[in-house]
């Protein structure tokens, strides 16, 4: 469960990147976060993983009041939430395998198990053949899949996908969305930021609209 109450975020002085956001997302939901550039989508994600603290308001993730979360608990929070970052944040000097295995290394899983798990996930996003290549050797769509694989590797309760279809052609975008839907059907809560109105319409999931930091829309599921 993700719950934001009266959340505002100011960067520096005066400028409101987010203003009075109230939203609640239940376990297992698939939610689109839409809005023009600069409307605050990425900022919401950064608040949820406590990369940023809000200027005002409260944020609850599964019973955890993350504003008052002790510093040493932040890693626990982040392990529960898989993130596909807008800029992907892949390590350029590591192979695809090494990038995806990273969260497993962090929780200290035996290498043999880790290897098996990474191969499963790479297989499920369809890039197993690229496992030993470096990020520069892959196309944009393939890199998106690497980022998704890394976000999924710890089987998180929540997946935040920040424009996972940005810069991709329609077919590839659609494949990635189908992949996310499949993951959602297995129980993972998904919050996906996107500009792609076609996809949003086609899928018929809940839509939260932002504009200039304000929530302007919350359409429930159609299907």
């Amino acid at each position: 469960m993700i719950k934001l109450e009266k959340v505002s975020k100011k960067f520096g002085i005066g400028y409101n990147a987010l203003f009075d956001i109230n939203l609640s997302i239940e376990k297992g939901e698939f939610v689109f976060l839409v809005g023009p550039t600069g409307s605050g989508k990425t900022t919401i994600f950064r608040l949820i993983i406590r990369e940023l603290l809000p200027t005002e308001g409260s944020i609850i993730i599964d019973e955890w009041d993350i504003i008052n979360l002790p510093k040493q608990k932040i890693p626990h929070l982040r392990k529960k939430i898989g993130v596909v970052f807008q800029d992907l944040k892949l390590l350029k000097d590591r192979t695809i395998f090494e990038n995806v295995v990273l969260p497993l290394e962090v929780i200290n899983i035996k290498p043999v198990e880790a290897k098996q798990r990474v191969e499963e996930v790479l297989e499920s996003v369809g890039i197993l053949e690229h496992r030993d290549k470096f990020p520069v050797q892959l196309s944009g769509g393939e890199l998106q899949r690497v980022a998704i694989a890394r976000a999924l590797i710890l089987s998180p309760d929540i997946l935040l996908a920040d424009e996972p279809t940005g810069n991709l052609d329609d077919d590839t975008s659609w494949e990635i969305v189908k992949l996310l839907s499949a993951i959602n059907e297995k129980g993972t809560t998904i919050l996906m930021a996107t500009h792609d109105t076609d996809i949003v319409k086609k899928l018929g999931k809940r839509i939260i609209g932002l504009d200039k930091g304000r929530m302007v829309k919350d359409e429930k599921h159609k299907k």
Binding site: I49, P75, R78, V83, V106, L154
Partner: protein, 288 residues
Amino acid sequence: MKFFTTAWHNIRRSPYQALAAILVMTLTFLVVSFFSFLIVGSSRVITFFESKPQVTAFFKDEAKQENINALEDSLNSTGKVASMKFVSKEEALSIYRQQNKNDPLLLDLVTADILPASLEITTTKINDMASISDMLKQSSVVQEVVFQKDIVSTLVNWTTAARRIGLGIIAVLSLVSVFIIVTIIGIKISQKRDDIEIMRLIGASSWYVRWPFLIEGIFYAVVGAFIAWLVASSALVYATPTLSAFLKGIPIFPIPLVFFFGLLGVEFLLAIFLGFISSFLAVLRYLK
């Protein structure tokens, strides 16, 4: 294990920085090693001299045997003397010959005439040495009185000074090496800023990020200490024949293996401490 691999990766990636860090640590520990040799050696020498409450009176060449005997009697009558040993010119020569039997050049140079006859006196109490030596100095047949206590106090003064200077140099060098390692680890952290940021975002704890850097700092210090120990110990072993000839009669050589390994142990502990402190400072400073 993972942390060691990562640390090793980071070290390998910039060999010149690694070299600089190790060299400055080696220098520091070379001084530590030689300083330890000096401290331990000099305290052995001092103990050796201290264990002998001895005064030696060297007689003038014209001193007559009867005058010497009279002096011996009056010393005995004080009741402070534990033992007395007269060494004639001839005996002095044979002792000299014995000590330098491997050096024919020195043997040829010296005859019994050059060496003075002497009287070695030990007292029961160290405190009595002063009054005995006063008696000797007043005697008309005595040329010179050598007081072991003088040797000891000179030695003690020297080693106290050496100890202060040595500790000073070690303190300065330790500080320099700490600064250099802080700087090097700091550079490494800045170079990996993006990686660290990503690791954190995917749930790595602070310690997970810190450990490889701490290990790196400790690695530099320990390798430096080991090289220094190896160099210093080899130098000491190599110099043993010369030194033992110089310190004839003082039981220091051969140096027991225990001493070398004890020194290695102490240096390793010190190195781990210095390395940890340096890299921890760097981590605190550059990895908030």
